[in-house]
Amino acid sequence: MSTGAIIAGAAETDQLGKLPDHSTLGLHLQAALNALADAGLTTKDIDGIATVSAPGPVQVAHALGVTPRWMDGTGVGGTSFLLHVRHAAAAIAAGQANTVLITHGESGRSRIGAARFAPAPSLPPGQFEAPYGVFGPTTAFTIPVLRYMKDYGLTHEQLAYVAVAQRRWAAKNPRAMFRDPITVDDVLASRLVAYPFHLLECCLVTDGGGALIVTRADRAGDFPKPAVHVLGAGESAETPMISQMRDFTESQAFRLAGQAAFAQAGITTSDVGHLMIYDAFAHLPIYGLEALGFVGKGEAGAFIADGHTEPGGSLPLNTNGGGLSYTHTGMYGMFAMLEAVRQLRGEAAAQVAGPEISVVLGNGGMFATCGVLVLGRGVS
């Protein structure tokens, strides 16, 4: 089964990392032009546009000279771009758009032309979390894991190993920010950011961007690169405040979005040859593997530590090096999708053996939202 949509173009900005000569908007536009070139299209072919604020779809469309007949400005954190793909596929199926451009750009490190974010002191997070010294993801996204460790026996060494496994993928990728091999001892010796999390268990902060072009599956043969089919998609939301997450040992949003995507695609975990799980912190692949059903509850830490997700393992996971080693602009979801597209096309830096199906799980906020996509080389 399929949504009836394909990804026809996919590209990142020329560079990722520290890019003080590019604004947030500039990164969106460079990524858009690169994705259009990848698909052999021009701005004249685009009739739908989706991105987050800021700068938002109106600004991006206008800067490119596109007058859209469909747009989506869903902004629910770093997974927003996965939701844009899902919404674009639905719009294409409904005849509301033919060819949708989805852009991401973020001056996450250099903060050039970037919006500042702090919760208003009258909003619930401003009243009930900020007064206790919460300040950004390192102080909040991290809070659930001690509960998980106590209830399911996850060790500090297993948590650290997530970063070790992903560095092994990054070592194969010339575009990854961090490529030098690391050990569990290195991770545990790096400075504490928010106990129990050390620096190497937290993602990078970089500048960069990426873009996708989504269109009708009946045009699959019309583009220079092999089409990547959007076989299934799901989305959900759980909580705007980490303190109100229902169960600190599992993400309801991950589970619900995953179930919807797998059901639409008509697949099970045994069909999946490649997996991307948004890793702003080292515990997210653990929560993601369990929510999607690849392992049982409490088993993911040992599964990763036993080598199953690293090069040579049975379930290649975060093969670009992930947010922990590849890049993380602040909204990483676009990069997770782009790596899945490269793997299915057979053009990844750390290419795995011919995956037919790749699954991408994107997180938004701090366990706030989730999007899951099932992508495939073809439609079965």
């Binding site: 900020a130 928010a194 109100q244």
Partner: protein, 138 residues
Amino acid sequence: MGKPVPVPTPETQPFWDGCAAGELRIQRCLDCGQAYFYPRPVCPHCGSARIEWFTASGAATLYSYVINHRPAPGFEEDGPYAIAVVQLAEGPRMMTSLVGVPNTPEALELDMPLKVAFEQRGEISLPVFKPAQLEPAP
């Protein structure tokens, strides 16, 4: 820049009024009977708008936490500090600070019993939690 001070809204004012009076006032549903937090005009368990305020016991247990080494603006003088989530005896959870106990992994054991206390922050009395054994025996 000082520590953030909550700004109440009409829906949350009774909670902050309770804190000013040294009480942890939260809401419960008159239809399904379940307590909930944060304050809002609808029961998140069953959707009912028939709700009431009541004074919680102030007893809680430590559900999870981090010890933050990169202080938020206003927290620079505190040294590494715990950001905790506690589970109230009545069921709901809330974020808080832990006082009267070293904010170290050795001193902070999950599920340890806690009791509410209040700290003045600007015009607001802010609920924090301390180990329950610091309470004098009844």
